[in-house]
């Protein structure tokens, strides 16, 4: 069991999967010779060659489609889109094609592509580099959508995504690549479904994913100081939302705080709330609380930017308010 950076966990998963199957290939901008913006493919161009670790021209829609087409012949492409904001250019290929081909063909043609892309608010990158588009993909039938929040998940979910026969969108986060964490030495695979309880507690359930899981963990620390025991659920997979794990927690706590980095309207927080309503309504003693980004394009100015998105303090504050102990 070794400590690894998040980016390095991804690099290891790429390396192992490229080694395992000659039909696995990676494609994306600057991922080959230059080694990848976030180093997730560092050194692999040299190791596997330009036909398998491919520097793409700036043509997001078409190299995503290239991946899909190749996957129809049995290849298992890993497509890196440098920022999820650029993935909007590829939504035709992702949503109209990759997500629907299996169904439209009556199950004949699978599209086992993996699309990796970082999103979220990093640090003053401005409105066009701060999109949180998980809502777009998690709202699409035919896709799997996962959000590894820790290096171990980044490693083990990417590996499973490559072996999985469905199109998988892996949403990463620009501010997490340098996070360090335990990653077991032996090869292993994580499921692409199901939430995990990453901290146990009894007074309230904090639900989140990716960056908001980290806020929730930090908020739980703060709340513990105030004598509040918060359970933290990391959804890990956004499609479908694991209502069962949430229900089991709410059966204990009866109170839910949902924290997401995306803006509320038609966002992940709405879907999580709807799942709670449908599957856990009678466990609740009040409406779940949403802590979400403001409904604004993300501003460049740092103070405005901070005001636009939640953080641990805001989660803790909303929780205290919900528990009537503010």
């Amino acid at each position: 069991m070794a400590q690894a950076f998040y980016w390095d966990a991804l690099r290891r998963a790429h390396d192992e999967e490229l080694a395992n199957d000659p039909l696995v290939f990676a494609i994306g901008e600057d991922i080959g010779l230059p080694g990848g913006t976030y180093k997730a493919t560092q050194g692999l161009f040299e190791k596997y060659g330009e036909h398998r670790v491919i520097d793409a021209p700036i043509s997001e829609n078409s190299y995503t489609g290239l991946g899909t087409g190749a996957s129809m012949t049995g290849c298992r492409p890993i497509i890196e889109i440098m920022s999820v904001n650029f993935a909007l250019l590829a939504t035709d290929q992702i949503i109209n094609a990759a997500a629907k081909i299996r169904y439209m063909s009556g199950g004949q043609v699978a599209c086992p592509i993996v699309i990796r892309s970082p999103g979220g608010v990093a640090h003053q990158l401005g409105a066009q580099h701060s999109g949180r588009l998980e809502k777009v993909f998690a709202g699409t039938s035919g896709l799997r959508v996962v959000t590894p929040a820790f290096p171990a998940d980044a490693y083990a979910m990417l590996k499973t995504a490559v072996r999985c026969n469905d199109p998988v969108v892996i949403l990463e986060h620009e501010a997490i690549y340098n996070l360090k964490g335990e990653v077991p030495d032996e090869e292993h695979f994580a499921p692409l479904e199901g939430a995990q309880v990453v901290r146990e507690g009894s007074d309230v359930t904090l639900i989140g994913y990716l960056m908001s899981t980290h806020w929730n963990l930090a908020a739980a620390d703060k709340l513990a100081e105030a004598g509040i025991s918060a359970e933290v659920i990391d959804l890990r997979a956004l499609k479908p939302i694991d209502g069962e794990t949430i229900r089991a927690s709410l059966a204990k706590t009866h109170k839910a705080v949902i924290a997401t980095e995306d803006e509320a309207p038609v966002g992940m927080s709405a879907e999580i709330m709807a799942v709670i309503n449908e599957q856990c309504f009678f466990e609740l003693d009040g409406p779940p609380v949403r802590v979400t980004a403001e409904d604004v394009p993300v501003p460049y100015n740092e103070k405005l930017e901070r005001a636009a998105i939640p953080d641990a303090d805001r989660v803790a504050g909303a929780t205290r308010k919900l528990l009537g102990s503010s």
Binding site: L23, A56, Y63, T68, N96, Y103, M104, G106, E187
Partner: protein, 335 residues
């Protein structure tokens, strides 16, 4: 080409024509739903190219006007008609419909409704071929209207950059629904547009199946020999409207339509075979009758009598039937 093969090819073309006409009828009877885009007038394109490629070995992909490409790829016409009739026996199990025929066994990788969407998919098929190291090629058929999409540019650029084995066939029928070529792009010869990628390209009469075959030979040879992609423009015309809701008139003059009717690819080829002495007028009539009979006696009844999909299978095929791999239950170490 042997006389017998020439006769067979004409027979296939006649069959395709009658098949499409029968689809129109079935559409009016509401046996077929959705959008329906028919191929009459353009037969020499699919037949000329696919005759010279290797059906069920080379990959074929196209747009929504896809029945004939599927059939020439080897898809059983019964399965195509059953698909149009939305039956479980359809080549896409009744889920796809006219615009989304698929037949993976015959390497027919689909019809797609979104204009320009198949370009990158075709590129990917070629990438798959490259990694698998076979001498297959990918053939992508699309209309000239699709050449205005960004995917055209992005795909041509990558195809040539990486010299992938893909043949782009542009069926230039002069119109994208009601908008003419001249009103949508300043360079009317489509094959000239790929000069921007230094791609090998040529333009050919798409009404004459012999000419198409000759050009296809050259193009396919280029691609199969590993010299990279090729762009083949075929000048053609659709004799009907764009889809069933379009008469095909209004935006096209009667004179123009008439001119092209005189160059109907089937009658051009028929007349040539007769001139060559390898077919008689009567044999042609027989061929035609036979095609119609096959459709009426075998194909339509098969479609009509086939069961519809089981409604309990509504959510099947959204994802892999086996959830195992997605749950991390993979054969560790294995592939």
């Amino acid at each position: 080409m042997e006389a017998a093969d020439r006769r067979r090819l004409l027979g296939e073309m006649v069959f395709a024509r009658r098949f499409e006409e029968r689809c129109a009828e079935a559409y009016h009877h509401r046996d077929i739903g959705g959008f329906l885009h028919l191929y009459p007038g353009q037969e020499a394109c699919a037949f000329g190219v696919q005759e010279r490629a290797r059906p069920a070995y080379d990959y074929v992909i196209t747009g929504y006007r896809d029945h004939v490409h599927a059939i020439k790829s080897g898809t059983d016409p019964k399965a195509v008609m059953a698909e149009l009739f939305a039956r479980e026996t359809g080549c896409s199990r009744g889920r796809g419909g006219s615009m989304h025929l698929f037949d993976a066994a015959n390497k027919f990788m689909g019809g797609y409704a979104l204009v320009g969407e198949p370009f990158p998919l075709a590129l990917g098929l070629a990438k798959g071929i490259q990694l698998q190291g076979t001498d297959q090629i990918a053939v992508c058929f699309l209309g000239e209207g699709a050449d205005n999409q960004g995917t055209f540019h992005e795909t041509m650029n990558m195809a040539q950059l990486w010299e992938l084995p893909v043949l782009f066939v542009c069926e230039n029928n002069l119109y994208a629904i009601g908008t003419s070529l001249e009103r949508s792009t300043p360079v009317h010869d489509q094959y000239k547009r790929v000069q921007a990628y230094a791609m090998e390209a040529s333009q050919t009469d798409g009404q004459d199946v012999d000419t198409v075959m000759a050009s296809a030979d050259q193009a396919i040879e280029h691609v199969r020999q590993g010299h990279g992609p090729y762009f083949l423009e075929l000048m053609t015309y659709r004799l009907r409207g764009h889809s069933m809701s379009d008469s095909g008139r209004g935006y096209r003059s009667e004179d123009e339509i008439k001119e092209w009717m005189e160059r109907d690819p089937i009658y051009l080829f028929r007349d040539r075979l007769i001139a060559e002495g390898i077919l008689t007028e009567a044999e042609f009539e027989e061929m035609d009758q036979g095609a119609q009979q096959r459709i009426d006696d075998e194909i339509i009844p098969f479609a009509e009598e086939s069961p519809e999909p089981d409604i309990n299978e509504l959510t099947r095929y959204v994802l892999d039937d086996d959830p195992g791999p997605a749950l991390g239950r993979v054969n560790e170490g294995g592939k």
